[in-house]
Amino acid sequence: MSTTAATPLTTTPPVSPVGTAAGRARKRLSSPWASLAAVVLGILWTLPTFGLLVSSFRPERAIKTTGWWTFFSNPAVTLDNYRAVLSTEGSSALGSYFVNSFVIVIPSVVIPICLATLAAYVFAWIEFPGRDVLFVAVFALQIVPIQVTLLPLLSLFVQAGLAGTFWTIWLAHSTFALPLAIFLMHNFMREIPRELIEAARVDGAGHVKIFFSVLLPLLKPAIAAFGIFQFLWVWNDLLVALTFAGGTPEVAPITVALANLSGTRGTAWHLLSAGAFVSILVPLVVFLSLQRYFVRGLLAGGLKG
């Protein structure tokens, strides 16, 4: 958390010194056995995903009767599985669930970012009595497991007439995200030099002006870090969606559809494999394009959940 956030993060290896004692010591560690161990671990970690990926391109019958490894001796490629899961009509269609996932994730990322930056600004730069107590309280809320809130929250939504709409999921995700978001934003904001804020104030800038022209441009990495964290969290969530959206194609996201499909008898592997890969692809693209920020967010706090 705050301590680890301060450690410098270098993901690219520095040039290793050759010929020094450490170089020799390292060479001893990176002996053939060490390399072998690394390769074995790498394969073990990749093979399960690879097997399902290969399967997603095989015809339904082939998946159900022979192992995916036979694909290489007897290749048969089809895109039918992907066509089936991406369509929005028909019993095997998962298309509308994907749409729901997008509809759910965008407001669930935007809302907490906006609210948390406002709140973090107050906690970082405006003095008022009781501020520190309130901040600690918000910080402490991070440890509340969301399970504790689900049932009462559901009855609140029912009373408000929101049950079964996207609003329940948007509001729930936004609320659950706030403590971590405020904590992260606050940490980043405290690193901005006080003189910068003071100078703007002397120039007669109000809070809103300072917020937009001084702080917001500097906060981009923090917003990106939290944004990707929250995106992955919401996109991959099952519990919140299952509780508030049920299993209907009207509002349920893809995780719910896949979980239900996986529970049925005579598992439909051709749909599951293709569906799983489409659902994996979206966060993967987000993740790979913003990996830098994600690692930073990861190191800055991970109590949420």
């Binding site: 290896p13 440890i143 399970q147 509001l171 009207e250 592997w269």
Partner: protein, 322 residues
Amino acid sequence: MSSFEKFLTMGLAVLLFVAVVGVILFIASRIGGRKGDRAVAMLFLLPTVLMLAVGLVYPGVRTIVQSFFDAAGTSFIGLGNYETIVTSSEQLTVLRNTMLWVVLTPFVATLVGLLYAILVDKSRFESAAKALIFLPMAISFVGASIIWKFVYEYRPVQGNVHQIGLLNQVLVWLGGTPQQWLVNSPLNTFFLIVVMIWIQAGFAMTVLSAAIKAIPEDIIEAARLDGVGALGMFRYVTLPSIRPATVVVLTTIGIGTLKVFDIVRTMTGGQFDTSVVANEFYSQSFRSNNQGLGAALATLLFILVIPIVAYNIRQMRASEAR
């Protein structure tokens, strides 16, 4: 609702929200001078405090109160639900499984992550090798469960039936008999835990690798001059230096594992004695309509998280003070 209508609803929701924030900012910009500080603070905090109070604090308190009531939530039964958790044989299995998860996952995942971080450190293929282990982090628990369910897939042994799950096929190649990995208790819980380890090792590796790289060069240099070997370097330099990061990793994975729900629900649905507290909470609250027991299980999760977090904070304080 068509897809277009859904996106329209979403657009309207975001617009509505932007309008609310806009109004807040507009009012704040009207309040001038240093005396207005407190007013601006209240205004900026208003939506956050409102949402946290209604969406987190109130439901949390309500659940804790509910945990002392019966299934229908009408009559007070004191600690009855907690008694059920620690006495009924079903719930004891749930507790046993949860303990297995929480003990095994953090330690094995951290061990694998640390080992891998050291093995690939400063090698030529470091970033590519790390990506392999790290990618499961981006995959949803549901996706990971499907991937592994396929590995564990079982086909009854008869006539011309081939195994389609990798694990059983490997067993066949080695001359064994295929097993129903997800059905045979108590071993099935371990096969579920493997999935969580598979996901979390990447997290452990990333954080520990960053910690290893942050060890000051002069410490390594000094140890080198003293003639410390590779293993000694690990024991006396690396390990003490990455201790704080290791504690963070262990506790973070521990908390995440405590609340594991998606994997159990997707792979077995909690059947065959594989349920854990977070899954049992869902089943009791939403399937069996036992509000009281569900609330007690949720509260139990909360209670179990607190010591882990407290330990984490104490360790952090200690390393800051040093």
